[in-house]
Homo-oligomer: 132 residues x 2
C-alpha cells in the first residue's frame, strides 16, 4: 500500500519508479565512474577520461558518453582540429547527480566495512582491528 507501481514514460525511457529512471540514466557498469571523473576533473578530453579509467574499451567509453550526452547530463564539445579533440564536461543537470553518486559511494564504504567485519567475525582471530 502507499506506493503504486504504474508504468511511466519519460522520453525514450520506461520505468515503474523514479529509482529505476535514475538508474537508467546514471546506472550501469561505467557511467558512475565516468561521471565521477568528470565531476572531479571538470573538463576532460576523450583520451583523458579513457586514461583515468583503465580497462574501459574505446567503444564502451564512446557509447556511454554519448548516452550520457543524450540524457542531458554530459556536455560534448568537438573541436574541429587534426588530430581531433573532443572535450567532455558535466552539464548543470549532470552536476546535480554528484550528491547521488556520493550517497552511493558512502554506502559502498559502509558495506565494505560491514562485509569485512563479517569475514573477521567468522574466521580471523588474529589481525584484530587492522583496517589496512
Amino acid at each position: 500500500m502507499g506506493v503504486t507501481c504504474t508504468l511511466k514514460h519519460c522520453g525514450n525511457k520506461t520505468y515503474y519508479c523514479n529509482v529505476e529512471l535514475t538508474l537508467q540514466v546514471i546506472g550501469g557498469k561505467w557511467k558512475p565512474i565516468i561521471m565521477y571523473r568528470l565531476g572531479d576533473g571538470g573538463t576532460l578530453r576523450f583520451s583523458e577520461v579513457k586514461r583515468s579509467i583503465p580497462n574501459i574499451s574505446q567503444k564502451m567509453l564512446t557509447q556511454q558518453l554519448r548516452e550520457l550526452e543524450a540524457d542531458g547530463v554530459v556536455h560534448r564539445e568537438v573541436h574541429p582540429q587534426v588530430p581531433p579533440r573532443v572535450d567532455y564536461s558535466l552539464t548543470e543537470l549532470g552536476k546535480s547527480v554528484m550528491p547521488v553518486i556520493e550517497s552511493l559511494s558512502r554506502w559502498g564504504r559502509r558495506y565494505e566495512d560491514w562485509a569485512n567485519r563479517q569475514d573477521s567475525g567468522h574466521e580471523a582471530r588474529g589481525a584484530a582491528s587492522a583496517v589496512l
Copy 2:
C-alpha cells in the same frame, strides 16, 4: 588525479569504486523496487511482494530476493507450513540503504521534471501546463 582506480574485492564482488560495489548490491532492474517495498511494508511474504510488483516473474523475484539475502540486506524467514510461507524483511544493513534509494528517487523526480520541460520547450504549443 585524486581518485585512483584500483581493482578491489569484497566477498565475491570485484569493483573499482564504491559506487560500483553499491550498485552490485542494490542495483539492477528489480532490487531497488523490492527494497523499496520492504522498506515501506516492513515484513512481507513472498506473494505480497510479488503482488506489489506487477510484471516481475516468480523466478526473478526469487532470484533477486536470494541475492539480497546473500548480500545481507534482506532477511528471509521460512515458516515450515503447508502451504509454505516465507517472510521477507530488511536487515539493519538493509534499512541503511533506504536513504540511498530515496536519494536516487529524488533525482529521478528531478530528471523527470527536467525532461518534461525539455519536451514542452521544444514542441508542445497546445496542452500548456496540463500535467495529466
